[in-house]
């Protein structure tokens, strides 16, 4: 399983900005890219999406499933795939919760979390889910 994620400064800036703009609510989006021969997921595009959840928006995010479906379809047209998901943790560390673990869709994805405290983004960390879904392991961001 790939243990590194390649992400440009520009993409990181998009994610940080999304987290800051939506604070104190959570935000979420998708990571589009390719998987290199060595298993590294190289992100070519970041897709911020709307949090469509109606309640608990400060600690829960829900993406429109059709937006995800469209992202997969559009990514395929560009020779890319959806290889990860990011979300923000308002006033919490960039460490996945048990809820995050229970709801992680794919063990093949990278899960990026940005901590946003008092409206400013701080740490940004990437994680992968073990194949047995027992826990997350931290992933190196290149």
């Amino acid at each position: 399983m790939a243990m590194s994620l390649r992400l440009s400064d520009r993409h990181i800036a998009v994610i940080r900005r999304h987290g800051e703009l939506t604070y104190p609510e959570e935000c979420g989006g998708l990571l589009l890219g390719v998987v290199d021969e060595d298993g590294t997921r190289t992100i070519r595009d970041v897709l911020p999406l709307e949090n469509v959840r109606r309640e608990s928006r400060n600690n829960r995010v829900e993406l429109d499933p059709l937006a995800y479906a469209r992202a997969e379809r559009d990514a395929a047209k560009r020779g890319l795939g959806v290889w990860g998901y990011y979300h923000s943790h308002p006033d919490h560390p960039a460490v996945p919760s048990l809820f995050d673990l229970e709801h992680a869709p794919f063990t093949e994805w990278s899960y990026l979390i940005v901590s946003v405290r008092e409206g400013l983004s701080e740490e940004l960390r990437a994680w992968v889910v073990r194949e047995d879904r027992s826990q997350f392991d931290e992933e190196k961001i290149l």
Partner: protein, 70 residues
């Protein structure tokens, strides 16, 4: 025959195909046909009790059957 589009993350378990032709006229039948062809997909779609994982979304003609929620 119905066609199932496979998300990028799961294509490695379906011979790297993006679309699979399946048998069946109902969603359950189509999924059974899919996992019969590609058994490795089963553990990614179903939990140990044989239930469809909560975050698996089924789209039929762009009508969502279940939401993706974190």
């Amino acid at each position: 025959m119905p066609r199932i589009s496979i998300p990028a993350a799961l294509r490695q378990y379906a011979d790297n195909q993006g679309t699979i032709l399946v048998e069946g006229s109902r969603v359950g039948e189509a999924l059974s046909s899919l996992t019969a062809q590609y058994p490795e997909l089963k553990k990614h779609l179903y939990d140990k009790e044989g239930r469809l994982r909560s975050f698996v979304n089924i789209y039929v003609k762009l009508q969502i059957r279940r939401k993706l929620r974190r």
